[in-house]
Symmetry: C2
Subunit: 143 residues, 2 copies
DNA sequence: CCAGATATGACGATATTCGTACTATTCAAT
DNA sequence: ATTGAATAGTACGAATATCGTCATATCTGG
């Protein structure tokens, strides 16, 4: 397989820089700022895995369990998720979103989706599927 | 202009999730981990703007000047950048990378470039320019 | 029944962000 | 020249975050 040219690498790098930059500066005081990165990932993970425990979360995020524990504690204090006891294993806790947490995740997902929409709208309808196909290939191609 | 479909949005969102995730978990103990995000951006900004001051940096990063000042202080203590006095304005300091800082930025850029290369190699040569063109359009298209 | 694995949290060391307040300069307009 | 406002930078401290170490409760295989 031919190698990417230096010019291609430079252009792609510059584009990603610009992307990260715009994405970060775009939302100066929205939902994004009220939660830190780990907390946002936590809420989304719990939304997708109701009943999971802090240890599952830690594995998923690649952080120590104490960090995950802190995060769930923080979010529970803010009323965004609840820690239920599990019957069958009395060591474990089952994490679930509260109603408020569900609402916040919905907002997060909506904001995220709006970002995706804005990106796709800058492409022609023909390009959109092509772009999605390529980025999917990049992300999920294992080797 | 037709709107992106829900299916397209979902696929793109999932791909970005996967991307962010792989990118973060990929490098458990490389250069990336030894510096925090702001410090990495700072080094790269100073590399591109030698002689700039903390205030320029703060504007660029969208953080308070005290945060930028902390970052430059931290990096200066670690010997990665130096703060020179400027003749012509005795309030200002001119930030420059030290030799060690230059070396570290070179490593960072190389790692970044390697990531870009890996991504492009997963596409066919024909797709590469197409992908770069589309992502460039997404990032730089103003409206 | 017991050794070892597992789930979780308490606590503290260290580090980061950022608001407030301060100093040293420079600039602009009289 | 003078002086009041704007500007560059930083010191300091409060609030907060990560994560290592240690303790506790519980499960599980033999």
């Amino acid at each position: 397989m031919t190698k990417p040219t230096d010019d291609q690498l430079a252009k792609l790098g510059a584009a990603f820089d610009g992307f990260a930059r715009r994405y970060k500066l775009a939302d100066p005081d929205g939902i994004e700022r009220s939660l830190n990165e780990i907390d946002k990932y936590t809420l989304r993970f719990v939304a997708d895995h109701p009943g999971c425990g802090p240890t599952d979360l830690a594995r998923y995020l690649g952080v120590p369990t104490t960090t995950a524990s802190s995060a769930t504690d923080r979010l529970a204090r803010r009323g965004l998720l609840q820690r239920d006891r599990v019957e069958g294993d009395r060591r474990a806790v089952a994490l679930r979103l509260s109603a408020e947490g569900e609402a916040l995740v919905a907002d997060l997902v909506a904001a995220y989706r709006a970002l995706c929409r804005m990106m796709l709208e800058r492409l022609s309808p023909t390009e959109r599927d092509s772009f999605i196909g390529m980025i999917t290939k990049i992300v999920y191609h294992d080797d």
